[in-house]
Symmetry: C2
Subunit: 250 residues, 2 copies
C-alpha cells in the first residue's frame, strides 16, 4: 500500500509520500514514490505515485523519454501544469496499454494513480490528481489537498486543520500527524517519508527531507500527539444518561 | 453507507450503529441498523448490520421466522453465541440465494455484513463478525472490537484508547468520538446513532440510547474533541529543519 498527500496553500505546496511497497505481506520493499523535476527559475514539478509499481515507474520513464523529444510538448517545454498532467495521464495510459493485459492474465491489477503539482513560470501553482484511466482533476480553493493510496485513516486531522491560509510549517506538522495515524492503522504504509516543500513563485524546491525510523522530530510529534489525544479524551465528560440506566429491549 | 461498532471489554459490551441508508446520493433514508433480542435472565443478543438493506432485513426476518420453529436450533434455544452466529450466517446465505441473482442482473451488490454479540447463560460474552459469504470470525483478547461499513475514519481513536480493561463509560465516549470523526469525513454516515450497553452477566440490556441531531452531550463532545485536537496540534513543535532549508532537487 501507499500513502501520499499533497496540499496547495496560499504560501506554497507540501508533498509527502511513504515508501513501503508490498506484493503480498511477505514481499515488502522500500521504494521512493516521489519524483521531482526542477528547472531553477522556470519550473518545479513534483509527482507522487501509488498503485502498481511497475506501471508507475514505466509511466514516469515514458515521460522522461518524451522529455528528450524537443519537438513535442514535454516536461521541460510545457506551458502549463495542465499540459504536464495531460502528459502524465498519456504516459500512464501507454504503460497500461503495454503491460495491463499481461497483468490481467495473472489477476494483477495494473491500476495506478498520480498526484502531480508545482508551478511553471507564467502560471500560479497548480495541483492535479491523475486517475488510473489517465483522466485528471485539479485542486480548487474548496479542495486544497489530494491523497492517494491508503487515504482514509489520515484524513480526519487534515480535514480539521488545513485551510488555504495555513502556514507551510503547520501543513508539514499536520501531514506528519496524518502519516502517523495512517501507519498506526495500516502496516503496509511505512517509513521513510519523503517530504518536499515548495514556496510560491520560487521555481525551485527548497527542502527535501527524508524522515526515517530514527527521526527525532517525527518520534517526538508521534508521541506527543498520542499523549495529547489521550489527554483530550480523558478530559471529555461522561454522558449523564449513563448514570440512570433505564431498562429496555426491542 | 453505514458505520457500526461493537466492543467486548472485561466489564461488558457496547454496540453502536448509525442510521443513514443511501441508494445513490439522492436517496438517503433513516433506518435502524441495530436489533436486539432479550430473554431476561437467560440471553441478550444484539445484531448490527451493514450492506444491502433488503438483504440484511430479509436475513433478520428469516432468523425471526425460524425462531418460531421450536424443534430446530433458533435464537431462543441456541446453547451458545456461536450457534447464533451460525444461524445468522445461514439466514444471510438464504437471503442472498433468494435475491442475489436478481440484484446482480441490475449490477446491484447483494453483499451484507453483521456484527452479532451478547451473552447466553452458561457462556461468557462473545462477539462475532459475519461476512457476506456467511462465514464468521470471533473477537479475541487481542481483537476487542469489530466495525462494519465505513470502518476506516473512526479507527485511529479506537486503536489508541480501547483496551480490555477500559471502563464502559470510556468505551461509550470513545465510540461517539469515533462516530464524530467518521461522520465528518463521510456524509453517508449520519445521525441518529443507536447505542446499547450490556454489562457482563446481567442477561438484559440496560441502556438503549438514541443520539439525535439535538443531543446536547454528543454536540458537546464533538465540539470539545475538535477544540482539543486543534489545541494539541497547536502545541506540537515545528521541525527545526524547516528553518535551515537546504536547496535540493532530483
Amino acid at each position: 500500500m501507499t500513502y501520499c498527500v499533497a496540499v496547495k496553500l496560499d504560501a506554497g505546496m507540501v508533498f509527502a509520500s511513504d515508501s513501503r511497497t508490498n506484493a503480498g505481506i511477505d514481499q515488502i520493499s522500500c521504494f521512493k514514490k516521489m519524483r521531482s523535476f526542477v528547472e531553477p527559475g522556470d519550473r518545479s514539478v513534483v509527482v507522487l505515485s501509488s498503485g502498481n509499481l511497475s506501471i508507475t515507474q514505466k509511466a514516469i520513464n515514458l515521460m522522461e523519454q518524451r522529455a528528450r523529444q524537443t519537438d513535442r510538448c514535454n516536461l521541460w517545454n510545457a506551458q502549463s501544469m495542465f499540459d504536464v498532467a495531460q502528459l502524465l495521464g498519456e504516459c500512464l495510459r501507454e504503460a497500461r496499454d503495454q503491460d495491463g493485459v499481461f497483468l490481467a492474465q495473472s489477476n494483477v491489477d495494473s491500476g495506478a494513480n498520480f498526484i502531480v503539482g508545482g508551478q511553471i513560470k507564467g502560471e500560479p501553482m497548480r495541483l492535479f490528481l491523475v486517475y488510473a484511466e489517465g483522466n485528471f482533476i485539479e485542486a480548487s480553493d474548496d479542495t486544497l489537498f489530494f491523497r492517494i493510496g491508503e487515504t482514509k485513516y489520515g484524513k480526519p486531522i487534515i480535514d480539521r486543520v488545513i485551510g488555504h491560509d495555513t502556514p507551510l510549517e503547520d501543513a508539514v506538522k499536520c501531514i506528519l500527524v496524518s502519516f502517523d495515524s495512517t501507519m498506526r492503522s495500516n502496516l503496509s504504509v511505512g517509513l521513510p517519508i519523503d517530504l518536499v516543500i515548495y514556496r510560491q513563485d520560487t521555481f525551485c524546491l527548497k527542502l527535501h527531507q527524508r524522515i526515517t525510523q530514527d527521526d527525532p522530530y517525527f518520534s517526538q510529534i508521534s508521541r506527543r500527539w498520542g499523549e495529547g489525544l489521550r489527554g483530550v479524551f480523558a478530559s471529555l465528560p461522561n454522558p449523564e444518561w449513563l448514570n440512570d440506566e433505564p431498562g429496555g429491549s426491542s
